[in-house]
Symmetry: D3
Subunit: 323 residues, 6 copies
């Protein structure tokens, strides 16, 4: 085995090459060969794509139950029926000594999660309104790990590890800037609290894979939706902390109204300036992220190769052409 | 004062007639005449309509703060600037001895509220599913009086005393009948529980007048809406009673989905058969009540004199013509 | 040939097994082998699915014209190019002696058609309004067989034999129950007559296969639609029977308005209480059938595996989980 | 009485002037003066507008039942409460000797109805397809007078005497011209027959005043609508004349589809080229008439003074300014 | 005349009081009294409202042509028919010596226009991209005075003097802040140029009163709209300055896309990140201004007294209640 | 090589047949065989369809850069993996001597382009209004060749060579006919000028293949759209020719409004009669062409085999059945 091929990108491997390292076990299924021998049929995955594979003469312990986890494998690439296939000679659950880097395997936010979390916490910690501050810090304390890890969505945009955190941090940055521009109508504390809490119901809306990506909407996610779940949760925390009723209602309203329009699933339409602005801030960050992800695959001066569903199903243009 | 005119309908009084009895004090405003004397300018109301009036040389105690309450008055009707006006010689807050009948003064459900309440309670008491039964009875216990008295709406339909109760009782009747027709897909207990609970958030959505009519949407009614408020309240009761999570979610889903379509304000769309059926039952009772209220003012074989906003803004036809 | 495999479900057959019995000849095409011999290439179908097949050295009489009919076959299952294929040694049109049960072959209503028809006829026969009764019974007399046999739709829901009858019978059950709850506004006879007649235009809207399933929309079905066709037919019958004009118009209106909204293809919006209620009853039965068909393939406590197009394109939840 | 004021325009009369002549009696109501004398309170109307009036000391025979008819009056104009009022000394139903010209009193098409009717009949008489010709001529024969007289609508456009005829004649002119441009796809006979028949159901959709204007939608007009009524009537005539089924269906389809979109009330969408073109021709004539009526009250180079509801509720521009 | 009543607010004047000062002559109409004397009937206006008035025995020179201009008047307030009326003894066009303050008379932006203009110009002057800078500064140079004075709209929001400037300055502030947050996708120069230019077509879209308020949409405003007019104008300037084609197209696209959705009148939907963000910034500033104007008439802790058409026609809540 | 197979339709060729002639080189890709020899893998196309092919042992000069051009080839058809494939022995760019007929290879208008162009020019040359005439002829002069050649669209309808010309010529024919029917409201010159100019922006909206078909929307086509581009171009020409401002605005308005509704991309809605009529004429020609293209593949008396996306996604009926 050549050292160059340790943790090689799956899509870069060529027939005949050996490789080893940490990969996501996407699916696995045991079978029996015509010769009566057990084998494992599987799919490996990393950020570059997927690769089907076989482990001949193998009866376990790795099997279907390990799907969604990281494994350490070693083997060779072959051509089989016009496609590539891995033939593995070893497979086992990865352990700490393997030094696996999840960011090589599953999509991850392009910014450092610890710095983003520190920023968010720093802003909340200095919120001028102590009631809003108390609610935010309580919610953060109780959900710190999940909040920092969760993707922002199953597909569309921010569907990578720490996506929710990145989306939230960006929105708080916007909130700080815009509250300065509209001081006559905007209560900075309320706006920032809303930005922090608006998607908190997503913690209950998703089921996740062992690696933290969204696998499916949860039962309560489908039956009630993250907007309701978030507003209910924040209402409960606010009551527990005995903050004044108007402030509790405003926090719940910020969450309940943040999708702005009934056809986008809002519970109510924004009735105060902070709720209206929050809905716009949310829209801005969603759209800017869509452009970021699209531009990453588009040359300057060109249109995107695909229509972008979440941006009006249009081809998008990346400025920067030569003329 | 002739006895015939005790509690006479205001619209039936003619100039020159005296009258006395209990009426709603719709508005009242103190003033000072050009001669420097205090007077009270007011509007009386009963089911037949309104009548402006004056109490000359009157400094109190009845004034603007009594608006919305029932008063006992005595006076005479005059013609003033092409319209009728009452000139009162006595006015005071009504008391128990006056034997005022609110049903003469404010719109009231056309069915006996006690019988309707007994019916609802009877059905809930025999619900087969003990978890759903516990939630329903707890909610009823804690809100019996308000639930029995509240109108169903500010305008549109069921906007009379006991309107919410009548709407709920009708829906439970429907639920019982339809659960028998679709036993393969409908859990009768869940459907009936949903019918009872679906509008329970209206208890918090409205501000009411002293006589119990809806005066305005409340602050939480406007910021969160009765669908959210009801689903949140039922969620809290269900948690308190420790019923299984799936049942709690289903009850909350029934409420959250009962307006069916985003453009009608639903939080989520119906995902189970009972939620879908509940939304239809709600629609049916609303529409049948609109027809009942419209037909009350339409001859058989004729179209309604006005377009009916809540029924597609159409003229409605009351069958029963002679040909 | 083992007796177990007489009329075996096609999807359950394994390579090497022999089978015989009645199946739908889905398609058939004659060909000539490289050796110059005639053969028949075909697809068999039953409720379990389809199976391609060959009859070697066969020149007829069964051929493309028999597609859509039931045949009796005998043969063996082989594996060919990674799939199953039947190789038949006998094929002929099924006859009475074969005792073929269509319910094994094409989808059929889950209730006994004769009992449903008897129920419908019984209700119509006792309709209080003799004019409405006369129209209904005349329409039934002239279309009994087709009415009892036709599916309710080409796809979506009720797309099985006797589907129209089942849909109609359910709606009449609803009509009976709801007319009792809203006697102030609902004329029971008119509502039930509307429930019986509302989809009668479907008799002209569909072309059917020899086995009675909907193959395609007919020319008049596409150019005028079942709502128009039904209202026109009922108008003609009512004129022929000389019922009063208002009743004729009301019957036609019930049909013309039963899709409620222009975007659902209604001709007019419901203008009387019975028409409004009929539209809701129709919606309820459609939705309950969608849930019935979906739940049949969904475990309790689970969401449907597919989005359900006719129910908002959502995943549907079947209550009954363990928690 | 000066001769200049015989049949004077009501809006041009000034206080103090006498007048006489034929006018529409818009409304009339008998009353009794404080002195106990009978009088008639009424409103006269002609094309220029309306004028309220009184006939003092008058007990009949003209009264409320004559509303909608033409009367001959004589009297004087006075100023009363800042407005004009007629005080009549004579009123009686107009008779033939009065030589009343309805075109001075009610709005009338700007073209000669006899010439328009002759044009329509001439085109139908020469239709190449004898089946379509037979249906059209039969329908015309049976409805000649009403067809020639009816307005095209209650409000919006063509709401004057002979409006339906003018609209139809214009559409037939368009049909002749456009059939020449698209001979590959358009059957001229079918298109012209559709143009003639498309609004024929309006004969049953309206109730009219004694002078022939639309007073209200009729019962069948509201319960079924002119599109259904027309397609049903033409279907009956076509069956009576035994024309081939396809041609009957096409004629009915032309009518059923001529509003093009569900939101405009179409029964089906156009499925053949003639139906599609007919819907466009109808739209064109409606819009051109709206502009004609609007331009009549707008100077060249100016926008209309009012928003025009039927043209997107916009201000319309009449070209022809000086720059 | 008391000095207190110099330039008094019109709504604050009481019957019997004298007043003098500068006011807007809203309308004026000459007449002749029954005594044959000329008089002027007029309406004065200032920010507090309007007041009808008369100048008896007055033949000019002030008349209908001065409507929309500022006049100096002196007179007295009387009560006439239950309302206030001014009876003037002097009226003449205001001149420089009167020291009239337009901000007392017509609505004016709440910020200093000179500082706002200096800010805008300062930012444009330092734009990093010299092509975009050249276009912006050229447009500003050619339209400085009108750009600084024009309201932002006829009604809705920013409908006061300097409204367009205030709207533009706010948007540039936003653009500066948000460009810092999304540097991966946003070209700061393009975004700021777009913010400056996006509504520049309004200079041609409105007709204005002598005092600078919007009186009406202009002919080209109605026939082409400010979006088209702006994009066309900027295209012409860019061609004149020979900036690269891509940059010209991007500037035009920013303007053409800034209403985002077809139903809001956009010419195209945003295809690049800067255009998308610009549309959101525009929405934010519009909405924040609506809240600012609404809150100015709403107490903390209360809902607005009126529905606010431009914010979903809802009642809006101003946070800050006592609980 | 048989002479019958010179320029044979690709879909008609059978395995074993030789052929030669001119074809479109749809795509081409060079490769190296396992034996190390260069080859060209390509797709040929003509109106009948496409055919994949190989040129063995071929190193050029024809390659990927010639894609989209016409080549002359000679070779043989083989069967390869259940499909047809050409094996060519010669390939070279076609030259004038080959006498290639593009109409055999790419879709072309069914009418003679020279006659259509002569018709259009003839009408414009005789336009009564000299200002409109000047603008039209100037635009035609500067774009004659491209205008005559361009397809009308990328897909949908008129997507063949000379499609824009055919669409424009048809619309001018309509304009001439309809201007005669509505002389009170239609300025014939303005309507015809609008018909000629309405899609002129398409000259800039498309990128084309070497053979003149639309390959893609251009950058300015996507960023600004043909409606804007056309109105801007015509505005520039009109300014250059110094025609009166109102006429310039009307011409620009005709273009800007010709898609009628915001959801169809119109810039403004039609405000004058000519603009309204133009939008309808455009719709008619689009729809008639859709029917023409659909009927070409549908038997009389039948529905189209496919749903037609551009006509409401319906199946369309071609009249002419036997009954």
């Amino acid at each position: 085995m050549s050292h160059e091929n340790e943790n090689a990108a799956l899509q870069a491997l060529k027939p005949g090459e050996r490789f080893s390292g940490c990969y996501l076990l996407k699916t696995a299924q045991s079978g029996t060969s015509t010769a009566g021998k057990p084998y494992l049929s599987l799919r490996l995955a990393d950020l570059s794509g997927e690769l089907p594979g076989k482990v001949w003469d193998y009866g376990g312990p790795v099997g279907a139950e390990q799907a969604g986890q990281i494994v350490w494998v070693s083997g060779r690439v072959e051509r089989y029926q016009n496609a590539h296939q891995a033939v593995l000679d070893a497979i086992r659950p990865a352990d700490a000594d393997d030094g696996c880097d999840p960011a090589r395997i599953v999509p991850t936010a392009p910014r450092d999660p610890e710095r983003m979390l520190a920023y968010v916490e720093g802003v909340l910690d200095k919120l001028g309104d102590l009631d809003y501050r108390a609610v935010c810090l309580t919610v953060l304390d109780r959900n710190r790990e999940a909040f920092a890890a969760l993707p922002g969505a199953k597909t569309m945009h921010h569907s990578f590890l720490h996506g929710l955190l990145m989306h939230t941090a960006n929105m708080i940055q916007q909130a700080e800037a815009l509250a300065r521009i509209y001081p006559e109508v905007i209560d900075r504390s309320l706006l920032i609290a809303g930005a922090f809490l608006h998607d908190i119901g997503k913690l209950a809306e998703f089921d996740t894979t062992p690696l933290g990506l969204v696998s499916e909407y949860s039962r309560e996610g489908q039956l009630l939706g993250h907007i309701f779940l978030g507003a209910e949760m924040v209402g409960a925390v606010a009551r527990e902390l005995c903050i004044p009723e108007e402030k509790r209602l405003l926090l719940q309203h910020m969450i309940a109204a943040h999708h702005e329009r009934p056809e986008y699933g809002t519970i109510v339409r924004p009735r105060c300036a902070e709720a209206e602005l929050l809905a716009n801030i949310d829209m801005i960050d969603s759209r800017m992220e869509i452009f970021r992800e699209t531009y990453a695959q588009t040359e300057p001066g060109q249109f995107s190769r695909q229509r972008v569903y979440a941006q009006n199903n249009d081809f998008l243009y990346r400025p920067g052409g030569k003329d």
